[in-house]
């Protein structure tokens, strides 16, 4: 089938809707093929049922150096299950087709490079996805990927960190598209007890250079964290905490518990 609406437009509409409803948008990250290949589709749909506005499909990689233990283990399991980037593209196409959801891929440079940036851009656009987040590809290394994604209408979402100086924000943010992903803390992904104390100050620094929606991710683990980010961010990205919910649930309860967890995050983001 042909996709009438582009993935990037779906993403834009999702943030506009959250803004109109004066709530935080919720992006949920799940590693494709974890805990097994068959359950990925139902978990992605459970996240949407719980109120996720955006899905981030984690592309497993053997050496995820920006990830903490949860995503490392999920990636290892997914690779043992034989998951490839082609599988991630089919899961994405299915959920876009069924639910008209905004879908991004999050993964490391090498599997995209091996697949071929242009081939990925073509297939990603055909699947109706919005773009990619590549945590080991800073702006300086992105030109090859950008020139492949651009003609296909896919976005590359940059990450910004508390260590990013103001001059660098001023230089890079004018080139940002879709939304701006702020890493809440100095560290790797993974659930944390508390929010970083300087996250509001950091988001404020970023806000001065962009009108795009700002999503805060890394370490966002609970409804309390989400509630605390109201008035600061436009959205939250939750990955490890969602995967932890899936891991600790009994197999037949995984989708239900994930849906309830995402719903608790969505509620916490409402006025």
């Amino acid at each position: 089938m042909s996709v009438a609406v582009s993935g990037a437009l779906r993403l834009e509409r999702a943030f506009a809707r959250a803004r109109t409803e004066r709530r935080l948008a919720v992006a949920v990250y799940l590693t494709v093929g974890y805990p097994d290949r068959a359950s990925t589709g139902s978990l992605l749909r459970a996240a949407l049922d719980g109120g996720a506005d955006v899905l981030e499909l984690g592309v497993p990689f053997s050496d995820p150096l920006a990830d903490g233990t949860t995503v490392q283990r999920a990636s290892e399991a997914a690779l043992r299950n034989g998951v490839t980037l082609a599988d991630c593209l089919s899961e994405a196409a299915a959920v876009v087709r069924d639910r008209d959801a905004p879908v991004l891929f999050m993964g490391y440079t090498n599997p995209f490079m091996r697949y071929g940036f242009e081939r990925f851009a073509t297939d990603g656009a055909h699947a109706g996805t919005a773009g990619v987040i590549v945590p080991d590809m800073p702006a300086e290394e992105s030109s090859e990927l950008e020139s492949a994604l651009g003609p296909a209408g896919l976005l590359r979402i940059d990450l910004y960190a508390p260590t990013t100086p103001d001059e660098r924000l001023a230089k890079l943010l004018p080139n940002a598209h879709g939304f701006v992903y702020c890493v809440s803390l100095t560290g790797v992904t993974g659930a944390r007890r508390a929010l970083a104390s300087d996250v509001a100050e950091f988001v404020g620094r970023v806000r001065r250079h962009t009108a795009l929606p700002i999503v805060v991710g890394f370490g966002i683990s609970s409804p309390e964290h989400v509630a605390a980010l109201r008035g600061t961010a436009d959205g939250v990205a939750v990955g490890s905490a969602a995967i932890d919910v899936v891991t600790s649930a009994r197999p037949e309860r995984r989708a239900a518990e994930l849906r309830e967890f995402v719903a608790s995050l969505a509620v916490a983001g409402r006025p």
Binding site: D63, A66, N110, D136, P138, E140, T163, T164, R168
Partner: protein
């Protein structure tokens, strides 16, 4: 936007954004230190008094006769303090860390040589040292784990992935991302994001400078072939750097062929890999058809790594250096040969370079003068070699 630290299409800084300001700070600090005479004097003093430089060049006539070459000389990095060339860069980088005001050092180690060198340098300079090491390597190199702990370092076991060097690098980078404001990452090989490949080359280039001057003084000409083993490639790039502009000198890098490149069980990234991105740099990488990094195999833990420094990738592409591979069995044989002919027990890593001498003889003939980088000594490998011989 231009990308810094490129060697042709190779190199770069494929890093999480959190670390981008840190590598910019590191690059500036390294350039400033390089231009600072006081820093250079302190480094020279420590290389002389503490590391034991200059290391000798040993004319190895019995070995030369056995392999049928006119002359073979060994650059004796095995005689440095802690027993391998790793100390050259460890002390340089530890001095740089202190100059940058970083009190905490993280390092990765495979065979344990870089971990021991880092631990020793940190002890000397009063810096806190945390070394990440895969549990598989901790099992293979138990004495080095004890050495690091004796030197005051904390050794953290890495259980992830293949539990070897690449996983230790991942974990060291994760620590660095988390503690970047206070921590210096002391990377051991000529790999990783810019400026590490350039910086490690600079600190290791003393191997090549000394060797070239010593050879000229002793022989009056230059060697016709220079050979070194290549895992990440730090001893090789240090050695080659002095000869790159000498067109008459052939350069050979010897990768770990494991059970043979055709078996798939090897660590020969240039000979048997494809271009990809690993640990912050674009280079030749051992990977599967989906871009997942492959597990490697080599009898020598120090070469057991699925990537290679970006400058080596470039020197391969330009043809300036020829890269070959030698198998576990060839390296084990060379280990015994050098021990018996010259009374020198080499590490298994440079045993791969010794093993290449017979091939150099076949390729370039008997009238060939060869300089070999003997990057380390073999004490750490005795158990491995004993077990391998029992298995034969």
């Amino acid at each position: 936007m231009s990308a810094p630290g490129r060697y042709g299409q190779f190199g770069g800084q494929f890093l999480p954004e959190t670390l981008m300001p840190a590598v910019a700070e590191l690059e500036a600090a390294f350039e400033a230190a390089r231009a600072d005479e006081a820093f250079q004097q302190e480094l020279d003093r420590l290389l002389h008094e503490w590391v034991g430089r200059p290391t000798p060049l040993t004319d190895s006539s019995r070995l030369a006769r056995l392999v049928g070459l006119r002359r073979v000389m060994l650059k004796r990095e095995d005689l440095t303090h802690t027993g391998a060339h790793k100390i050259n860069s460890a002390i340089g980088q530890a001095l740089l860390a202190r100059r940058m005001g970083k009190q905490r050092i993280v390092a990765e180690t495979g065979a344990g040589q870089h971990g021991v060198a880092s631990a020793a340098a940190c002890a000397l300079l009063g810096l806190e040292c945390v070394v990440y090491m895969g549990t598989e390597d901790m099992r293979r190199q138990e004495p080095n784990v004890f050495r690091m702990r004796l030197l005051g370092a904390e050794v953290r076991a890495v259980e992830a992935g293949s539990r070897t060097l690449k996983d230790a690098v991942n974990e060291a980078i994760r620590d660095w991302v988390t503690n970047v404001r206070t921590t210096y990452y002391l990377l051991g090989s000529a790999i990783g994001p810019h400026p590490y490949p350039a910086m490690v080359r600079e600190f290791q280039s003393i191997i090549g400078r000394e060797s070239r001057a010593q050879w000229l003084e002793r022989v009056g000409t230059l060697p016709s072939v220079v050979v070194a083993c290549v895992g990440g490639g730090s001893n090789a790039i240090g050695m080659f750097s002095a000869f790159l502009e000498d067109p008459g000198v052939r350069l050979r890098g010897v990768e770990a062929g494991g059970l043979g490149v055709e078996s798939g069980k090897h660590a020969a990234s240039i000979v048997g890999g494809r271009i990809g991105v690993l640990h912050g740099t674009r280079s030749y990488v051992l990977q599967d058809e989906h871009g997942q990094i492959r597990e490697t195999h080599s009898v020598s833990a120090g070469l057991d790594y699925p990537g290679v420094g970006p400058e080596h990738a470039f020197l391969h592409e330009t043809g300036r250096v020829e890269y070959v591979s030698r198998t576990d069995a060839e390296a084990l044989e060379a280990f015994g040969v050098l021990s018996r002919t010259e009374g020198i027990i080499p590490a298994l890593e440079p045993a791969h370079a010794i093993a290449d001498l017979a091939h150099i003889r076949l390729r370039y003939g008997a009238d060939t003068d060869v300089l070999v980088c003997l990057s380390g000594r073999g004490d750490k490998d005795l158990e491995t070699v004993m077990r391998a011989r029992e298995a034969m």
